[in-house]
Symmetry: C2
Subunit: 648 residues, 2 copies
């Protein structure tokens, strides 16, 4: 059962693998894999640790057809919410649990909540593409240098290609490309396919005075990719998505080396062939990249079980102007001085380009089960989370949504089949909750739960969860609601663009906060948004909802959505920015943090002086100047080069 | 049950608290605390989260009498191993489970293992104190500046005080102070009592060209405190141990702000009053400080449950030459750019002085139970750990010792009471293991286990542990052996000095390594040590033993002890250094890391080029130069100023 040390990583014929089920694959890949897959799942027979170098090189991914992404909004090109003449909403395509069915309640509910006439006839058609600023002339010799190291299809000056690399998914950016314009976009986009090309690219940029901005999934919501109009240099966007291979997998030591441009959904698909997972599931999983997760210090929905990105990344290779940060081998945990790797988490493009990383893996859990619980109020839900954390029985994911978000979920229910049985069941459920249990439908909150692990672990957690939920007035609401709630995350992401198309502006922001301040923070921010909305005489009611998305021993993360009807408002983006700025002030005053996982980017760098001492900021500036004296990595985030004026 | 936000942290009368049991104390400290203590322990009644600012200021610790530490060796002054004329060994004092009883088997076992005549008559008396280099003259104006900011009792030029701050607990250092000398020691020791004094001190040192070296517990084993003879400046050791207060405790959000000079055992004692723990238990717990844990990137024996130091420290205040790194508030988890805090883990004095940190706390576990298991071989033990990790049921601490260390533990058993019953029991046990179960007494290995958590968690883990142990040929060996094994850690630390006093030189070192390479690493290092020992014609047999101390999903940490009889050897310290250097080469070649938690210091900086790319080292040097251009923090560790010649 042991593999000799001399036996090096083995390659597997990709053709043979692609069409096999995972179980069959283990027969091909040899004993090491077969062993692991079995031993991972107690109480099957156990055989201990295979010995030696247990890595293998997986075959390259076969790209699936029909993966085109939208340029003018979130997600896949085939998927968007459209309002039908009957005022029902349909999510096009077939990708999500709410795709391709009529959602009759959504628009009426949104109209009521916003106190605004959202509807089929009241459209705000985007004029994408916007005017795109022309590329600046390249410094002499730069293009020749790039042509020497890249193939022609690895460079693009196409205006639409440049436009897409000039923004992420901040609401203001999407509004700008749909209804306004971007002041500047990169002058050139390059698509490296290998680490050495990135090394040469950084050298060329340094020599010719160009500015480099790494681009991953383009899903950030902090204006991190947006160019400062004051940036006068030739700007090259370095699109990393062709560097997307899994370089090796070690199924025994549960690690993999993955190129930084690999997209979350592809990583998950590839690892699934070997019954492995990475366990990192940010809401942007489908589109964001490993490099982007590192650069933004990302967090996933299942972090309770698998950890956040800083827990998952053991090592990384980074191209800086001081040379390549790399290590010949990496261990489970080390004490080896201030590893420069640690400066890359949250670096937001400021220090270099991550080309690959060694990440932790986990065996695919034996059991995955969902659950949901209704609580009389959000406060009850928070209390439940607190005691659950104390009991050491937190499932892979547990989230509690407030009443507005609960209603939102209800409004996303498809047209019922209208049968008596289905209506009866629904009525009965409602009666049970609101009358028999005395729940107030305008107050109740809901928890969605995802359990992962061995049968024993999951059973242990379920028992604790429902016992503690009961102690806080919780009512078990079934696994179907839990699964639906969890999966909705991915479909809901498309709603922001629907609101834009119907004269509402909306976006999300988040924080983390100690337990004892969580509820007052939520209430203060809601009230502050109401006041700010009123003070500006904005139309209708503000939309405001929050959910508790992550729990820690020391507190929670809270994720907010905010929006308002903006027809007739002179500068909706500026107004939204003012409201979010006020909300952020309130968050900080209420004991919250600047960001739990979105990051700083440009939209929050004005607050850095509120969360760091002058010495801390000076330290960061000194480091930036020392390791990138020419500011080759001019993404210009989190204020290390001073604040950036992005205009109104 | 809520505390209004306006209610600020409350102070508690220290006199009233000191003499009360924890339960009584909650009556004094108010509702918030009482609430927490109860709700922590499911399934007692739960009441959710108290609201508001839930911090309180604990009373200052009453220093206990009789805490004097030894200057010439490890630990407390009242505790050391002495050999009696009858060749029995006794650990003086009453502090440990093996204190103050005759240990008749230890010396015979050591003599046999080392193949050397260790004994009462064959002593190697230390000549502590060694010659102490005179202090250099202070730069003009420096002393005046220091006198202006410190009280007279906060400065010392006493040679013994200076000597102790000039070294840690590296074997070579202790050998030097007992049988040789240190080439240089600090010229002055200062004892700040407040953060502001450290700020002023750094300014004064910078202005007058002095070098500052922070000093915590002085327990490092990497020569990190040892001065380079080439350091020509006036060196001030900054002894942090008078900054040892717990500034506040938040029992609801499970955090505390603690000054960096607080010693582990004091932190544990103080937190215990409130039924809280920090969960960080390095082997040096009794003497090392919070600041030292950060500076060395420490790991504790219970890290499986509570995490390593980088997981436990949420924030820290650091005095650097760029100003103070500080934050007005801190959250459970944040994405706020490259927080300079991350550079302090493993900084080993090179970047600044940590003055306080906000750390995570945990409720004192409802249940603490011990356990032990015998395995036929170390390989079986490793296989057990691997499958245990995969099953997600790792207890707070699980360690597997090799056969030599198992025998070592047996040799530390006190004189039996000689009764027939006790002899019968012992014989019976032995027979059971070696005959009935077919264990080879020269091969068997042992696991010690510490379970902590709720009754349910512990029951769940115990069940999994013993099931998986059985599957790997394990034999349950009782909780008494487990508790003894765990507690022995603290007593065993004194043995190094016993060996020195009887002509043996010995020290520990450690690594981390992926699962599949762990056993071959262990075997390669053992064989390499044997070869190197033989090649140098050193007397007797080398002493070599290892234990697996920490488990990760991706591998394990292994802790080694190595030594040899050195009477007649010309330069035992150099010989030991050569052997350890060879062992480290073998570790790296076998897939291990430079250090799991001891750090780099000076003794391992020669290997940095083997574990970091040139770009990584250049990046680190640039950072050091940028944030401490005058090298005020001249501890000179991990090679950021080039390598250091410490002579033979």
């Amino acid at each position: 059962m042991t593999a000799p040390r001399s036996e090096q990583k083995k390659s597997v014929d990709p053709k043979k693998v692609g069409d096999q089920k995972a179980d069959d694959f283990f027969g091909l890949a040899g004993k090491v894999l077969a062993h692991t897959a079995r031993s991972a799942l107690a109480p099957r027979p156990m055989r201990g640790v295979p010995r030696g170098d247990t890595r293998f090189v997986p075959p390259e991914r076969n790209g699936s057809a029909d993966e085109a992404e939208a340029n003018d909004g979130w997600g896949f090109a085939d998927t968007k919410f459209v309002v039908q003449p009957n005022e029902s909403v349909v999510l096009t395509g077939k990708r999500y649990n709410i795709s391709n069915v009529e959602l009759p309640s959504l628009l009426p509910w949104m109209s009521k909540t916003l106190a605004a006439p959202l509807g089929y006839a009241n459209r705000h058609e985007p004029h994408y593409p916007p005017p795109i600023p022309p590329a600046r002339p390249a410094p002499a010799g730069l293009i020749e240098a790039l042509n020497a190291l890249l193939q022609p299809d690895q460079l693009s000056t196409d205006p639409l290609v440049r436009l897409r690399r000039g923004h992420g998914h901040t609401g203001a950016e999407i509004w700008a490309i749909r209804y306004g314009k971007l002041e500047r976009v990169p002058d050139l986009v390059v698509f490296p396919t290998a680490h050495e090309q990135v090394v040469a690219l950084v050298k060329a940029a340094e020599e010719h005075g160009a500015c480099l901005i790494p681009f991953g999934g383009g899903t950030n919501v902090t204006d991190a990719l947006r160019l400062a109009p004051s940036e006068e240099r030739f700007v090259i966007a370095v699109d990393m998505r062709r560097m997307n291979r899994i370089l090796w997998i070690d199924p025994v030591n549960l690690t993999a080396c993955i190129e930084a441009g690999a997209v979350g959904r592809h990583i998950a698909e590839e690892l699934a062939r070997y019954k492995l997972i990475m366990g990192h599931e940010p809401d942007s999983l489908e589109f964001s990249t490993l490099g982007g997760w590192i650069a933004t210090n990302a967090s996933g929905m299942k972090k309770n079980r698998y950890g956040n990105i800083e827990d998952l990344v053991l090592d990384m290779q980074v191209v800086t102007t001081q040379g390549v940060l790399a290590r010949p081998q990496v261990g489970p945990r080390e004490s080896i001085g201030p590893n420069p790797k640690s400066f890359m988490f949250g670096s937001e493009g400021n220090f270099g380009i991550v080309t690959s990383a060694v990440v932790k893996l986990f065996p695919r859990p034996e059991v995955q089960r969902y659950g949901s619980v209704l609580f009389p109020t959000l406060g009850h839900g928070l209390d439940f989370l607190y005691d659950l954390q104390r009991a050491g029985a937190v499932p892979a994911s547990v989230r509690v949504v407030d009443n507005t978000q609960f209603q939102f979920g209800q409004a996303l229910k498809p047209k019922s089949d209208g049968s008596m049985a289905s209506r009866m069941k629904s009525k009965l459920e409602k009666a049970l909750v609101t009358q028999f249990k005395g729940f107030d439908p305008k107050q109740l909150a809901a928890a969605t739960l995802v359990f992962e692990g061995s049968e024993e672990e999951v059973a242990f957690q379920e028992q604790a969860v429902y016992r503690i939920a009961r102690a806080h007035g919780g009512l078990k609401a079934g696994s179907k609601n839990g699964e639906r709630g969890y999966q909705l995350t991915f479909g809901i992401a498309y709603i922001r663009d629907l609101t834009f198309s119907h004269w509402a502006i909306a976006e999300s922001f988040e924080t983390s906060v100690p337990w004892s301040q969580a509820l007052s923070l939520y209430e203060r921010v809601r009230e502050r948004v109401r006041r700010e909305h009123e003070a500006r005489r904005l139309p209708g009611n503000p939309f405001f909802t929050g959910r508790i998305t992550q729990v820690y021993t020391t507190g929670v993360a809270i994720y907010f959505y905010m929006g308002f009807y903006c027809k007739g408002v002179e500068d909706p983006v500026r107004m939204y920015g003012e409201l979010e700025h006020a909300a952020r002030e309130e968050i900080l005053a209420a004991g919250g943090t600047l960001s739990h996982h979105h990051g700083v980017g440009k939209i929050r760098q004005g607050f850095l002086g509120d969360i760091y001492s002058p010495g801390s900021l000076q330290f960061m500036r000194q480091v930036k100047h020392a390791v990138d004296p020419a500011n080759v990595f001019g993404a210009n985030n989190h204020g290390v080069r001073g604040t950036v004026d992005l205009g109104a």
